[in-house]
């Protein structure tokens, strides 16, 4: 019946529409959902179901609150010095930095400046975790799942990291940009990203000067954001970098420094003229390679990993002939026979954020619980929002899975189903870096800063001294400031000022969910959990093992007899099902 559906972009007919296919659409165009949501989509026509995802701007999103700032920023933090040595040097030379004065006399004259530097680094880091939490909450709560799914895609595509940007406000603004243009026009999005402060900082726009072009943005623009390797030369990169000279950020806005802009002739991909950045973007967008690259990457993210060059060309043509409008391209894709053929269905390995969000949505939560901590959980699985490992983003698919991450995925399920409320500690109170715990204990016990530092450095240990480690602290032995102390004071102030995250466990009742679904026996209960949590069939050995387990826990196969104590056994059984390899698939 699906013979020949592979690489067929013609639409499926209403008679092809089944609950399984509705679930597939929900998994891929969104983050999956509970059986009721699958049933709702299955009752529509395929066109209407796909339209519900794609025409999301029509859906009310007033249930999604904007990010609430803690209020840690003030303008004296801009411009923020690039390094701690640069901050203290500035204060030594001018008497102040970041709005804080050096002391006129006395020991550790520059200490307040060093404290200030670390305060902002740590506060921005903690606030970025709150942004990640806020975003995850949107993914779970939204009635516009494709908007967030695509924002996540663009975040991995135009990957910037707070670790380098060092300003949660810029990172937040970038995520808002991805949400705004999620299914819009790629030219519009690319043009906005090229002017986006987080991107400008991340790829060193401030260092791209007329007399010293910095190729970082020009290179990644061609290699990672548009065409991919093999469609341009090193010369094209150098020339493109010149076209972007002078493009920079003024705090949260875009700014062109005319003095630093090189207005001379450049030749990029065969086009010569006094090109500016936007003209270079348009030259790149006119290349078939760009449409192929973007179309192929969207396909791999939303449909499946393997893609023949010929089919990728077809997808590229589709995107380019539609003038880079994402929505009509995805409408064709989500309605296509190719999307519903067996090679596409149930073969996608969920990414960490996708796995977490889909778990919450399938449980019908409506919000992201504070326990387990979202950022720690996703980091454990290999993905930290707003901190991608490199500008190449996250590699998808099989790259997510290692023996360790597979175990961690099962452990995450357990932390949701059976949270360890005794051992749980708020990770945002866990000092960064961890040596602060020891250092703080020594300082609070009345030890002087130098002695406490030496203990933390292990500088009393001969091995440490011999091998020349802790060089930074030996260099600061003349102590205009103490780095450890600054790190401690910065952390303390950051934790005091950043708003706490509510630490509530997920509220749900598997008993209600299973009984409401009509299950009467342990076998039916297991099938109900399988239908709720899995997108692919579970092999009969595993299903039988789960039934045997549940029956042993209940002491009966009759759910009615066990209805007063069903919850814990059902949660353990759900943990078994969510520990299977099949749980990774959607």
């Amino acid at each position: 019946m699906t013979d020949g559906w592979e690489q067929d972009l013609s639409s499926i007919s209403p008679t092809d529409w089944t609950p399984e296919r509705a679930r597939h659409l929900l998994d891929r165009a969104g983050f999956g959902g509970p059986p009721e949501e699958v049933a709702r989509l299955a009752a529509m026509t395929p066109e209407a179901a796909v339209a519900w995802f794609i025409d999301f701007k029509a859906i009310d999103d007033s249930n999604l609150p904007p990010f609430e700032h803690s209020g840690i920023y003030d303008p004296s933090l801009t411009p923020f010095p690039p390094t701690r040595p640069a901050a203290t040097r500035l204060a030594a030379e001018t008497g102040s930095a970041m709005g804080v004065d050096a002391k006129p006399a006395g020991p550790r004259r520059l200490q307040p400046v060093a404290d200030r530097f670390f305060f902002w680094l740590r506060a921005s880091m903690l606030e970025t975790r709150r942004v990640g939490n806020w975003w995850a909450d949107r993914m779970v709560a939204t009635n516009r799942p494709l908007e967030e799914k695509l924002a996540l895609f663009w975040h991995g595509h135009f990957a910037c990291s707070e670790e380098k940007v060092r300003d949660y406000r810029k990172m937040l603004a970038q995520i808002l940009l991805f949400q705004q243009h999620a299914a819009g026009n790629f030219r519009t999005l690319l043009s906005a990203v090229a002017r986006d402060p987080a991107m400008l900082v991340y790829l060193d726009a401030g260092q791209n000067l007329k007399d010293h072009p910095n190729e970082n943005f020009g290179r990644e623009l061609m290699e990672l954001f548009t065409m991919g390797v093999g469609h341009y030369t090193e010369q094209d990169i150098r020339e493109a970098a010149r076209a972007f000279t002078g493009w920079s950020d003024k705090d949260l806005t875009f700014h062109i420094d005319d003095v630093q802009h090189d207005s001379g002739d450049k030749t990029v991909l065969g086009h010569t003229g006094p090109l500016d950045g936007q003209e270079v973007l348009d030259i790149i967008l006119a290349q078939p390679a760009t449409a192929n690259f973007i179309a192929g990457k969207l396909y791999r993210f939303l449909v499946r990993d393997d893609l023949s060059p010929e089919f990728q060309d077809r997808l590229g043509n589709l995107l380019r002939s539609g003038k880079y409008e994402i929505a009509p391209f995805l409408r064709t894709l989500f309605l296509s026979r190719d999307f519903y053929n067996p090679a596409s269905v149930g073969t996608h390995i969920k990414g960490p954020v996708e796995l977490i969000v889909s778990t919450y949505r399938r449980l019908g939560l409506g919000t992201t619980p504070g326990m387990p901590d979202f950022n720690s959980a996703s980091t454990e699985l290999g993905q930290t929002l707003l901190n991608p490992p490199t500008v190449a983003g996250w590699s998808q698919g099989r790259a997510w899975i290692t023996p360790g991450s597979l175990l961690a995925r099962g452990n995450f399920a357990r932390a949701v189903l059976l949270p360890d409320v005794i051992a749980f500690a708020d990770p945002n109170l866990d000092p960064y870096p961890s040596q602060l715990r020891t250092f703080s204990a020594h300082i609070r016990a009345g030890e002087d800063i130098t002695t406490a530092s030496r203990i933390v450095d292990g500088a009393d240990g001969t091995e440490a001294q011999r091998s020349g480690m802790a060089i930074a602290n030996l260099l600061s032995a003349h102590e205009e400031f103490n780095t450890h102390y600054a790190s401690l004071k910065g952390w303390e102030e950051a934790v005091r000022r950043v708003r706490p995250t509510l630490r509530a466990a997920a509220q749900f009742s598997l008993t209600t969910l299973v009984l409401k679904g009509g299950a009467r026996s342990t076998t039916q209960a297991v099938d109900s959990l399988i239908a709720r949590f899995l997108s692919v069939p579970l092999d009969s050995e595993t299903r039988d093992a789960a039934v045997t387990f549940l029956e042993a826990e209940l002491g009966t196969a009759d759910l009615d007899r066990a209805k007063t104590y069903l919850e814990e056994p059902l949660r353990l059984t759900a943990h078994l099902i969510m520990s299977t390899p099949q749980y990774q698939l959607a």
Binding site: N216, E223, T402, G404, L407, A546, H575
Partner: protein, 410 residues
């Protein structure tokens, strides 16, 4: 062929090309007096040799690592970033290391550090991701679904024996991706475990049994699940039980975990660790940051080898250190350096024949501001694969015939 400074020692050493014959005898007798029973049961010989690969991600600035402190061209190209001779640790009358690299200095002076100069490849990519993929696959300007270490594991043990490759990273590297082997990948050993209650255990064991897969994705997941099931307890226990007096430095990027597994008698022949997150990408304000990175790296590697000597596995272990490319000869306007080409590789350990290999590229005869590489990185790989690991035929591993360097004692 690039014009370069040919080091005096090289010509002599090339004659003494190390072969495989006789190597086995060189390491017998070191099994005596191990620190624990697991090590005692480890057989010595070619089959007990371990290769540890250390990746420095982000493109390490080779010129400020192994500093040609007598070369005026170096100081001319780097008026601000050039490291003054009085601030360096001199290795000999041509080269020195940064002051924080006491560990590397000691290894070199003990004859346990081979420095391979000017390592690179033809038509270099200046992209971190592309060049790293070239190094990891061993297929520059080409591609391969498997990594060079994965192919080496497949060649050495086509049966895909358990835990032949260990990758101490949060994400598995392309370098270790293999056809027959599922690399054991973990970063935090204490997290490498399945949390479950006593009642669940029997059911979980049943669930982990062999299954018939419906498609390739399931085949892959079932294989990894089986590997996790076999390895989890061993890794966690080995790392938790390991005690060492050796200080592994301020940034412990994985070698102390490698030591724990080696000490526990793991059958692993190939270990991979990474200094992650593109840390060595020093475009801006390089000096302080690069000094720290090298200090941590040098401390960590020297500590690991000291620890291996302590548990008497020194003769069985050698370490290869690489980065995806070097940096441009001239400093940039931001007190940093931009993406370049060739750079040094390091081979360290007791079995190594320390000294200089390859030719230091010229700092004046440049290709558009970049050094011309003098040794293809696949020759370094061949040295590790053939000479050290005893791979009989490295042609499928390295996709060509690359002569090894004589960097091991024969």
């Amino acid at each position: 062929m690039a014009k370069g400074i040919l080091l005096g020692e090289i010509g002599r050493r090339d004659v003494l090309r190390a072969g495989l014959i006789g190597l086995g005898g060189g390491i017998t007798g070191f099994g005596a007096g191990p620190v624990n029973e697991a090590a005692a049961s480890t057989p010595t010989g070619l089959g007990s040799r371990v290769l540890v690969v250390v990746e420095l991600s982000g493109a390490n600035d080779g010129l400020n690592t192994i500093v040609p402190y007598t070369n005026d061209a170096y100081y001319r190209a780097r008026p601000k970033l050039g490291l003054r001779p009085e601030k360096l640790r001199r290795l000999d009358d041509q080269f020195a290391v940064q002051s924080g690299m006491a560990g590397f200095e000691r290894l070199f002076k003990d004859g346990q550090l081979a420095i391979v100069h000017g390592v690179g490849y033809d038509n270099p990519s200046f992209s971190h991701f592309t060049s790293m993929a070239y190094w990891q696959t061993g297929a520059p300007n080409s591609g391969d679904p498997y990594g060079w270490l994965g192919r080496l594991a497949d060649a050495l043990d086509p049966s895909g024996g358990d835990n032949f490759i260990v990758d101490v990273e949060s994400r598995q590297s392309l370098a270790v991706r293999a056809r027959a082997h599922v690399p054991l990948t973990f970063f935090q050993p204490e997290h490498f475990k399945r949390d479950a209650t006593y009642e669940e255990k029997a059911a979980l064991d049943q669930i982990a049994g062999p299954r018939t897969a419906r498609n390739d994705a399931e085949t892959f997941l079932f294989d990894v699940a089986a590997s996790a099931q076999r390895a989890e307890m061993h890794v966690r226990e080995a790392c938790a039980a390991y005690r060492t007096p050796v200080d592994y430095g301020l940034i412990r990027f994985g070698l102390e975990r490698v030591a724990a597994l080696i000490a526990a008698g793991f059958p692993t022949r190939i270990y991979y660790v990474s200094y992650p997150h593109n840390a060595f990408d020093t475009h801006v304000n390089q000096a302080d940051n690069h000094a720290r990175l090298l200090t941590y790296t040098s401390d960590h590697i020297a500590a690991f080898l000291a620890d291996m000597a302590r548990i008497r596995r020194g003769p069985d272990v050698s370490v290869l250190v690489f980065s995806e490319f070097g940096r441009r000869v001239a400093e940039n306007a931001n007190l940093g350096t931009d993406h370049g080409t060739a750079g040094p590789c390091f081979i360290a350990g007791q079995p190594v024949r320390g000294g200089h290999y390859g030719a230091m590229p010229s700092l004046t005869d440049l290709d558009d501001g970049n050094m011309r590489f003098t040794t293809d990185f696949r020759r370094v790989y061949a040295t590790m694969a053939a000479t050290w690991m005893g791979c009989q035929d490295t042609t499928p591993v390295l996709k060509g015939d690359w002569p090894p360097l004589p960097a091991f004692q024969g």
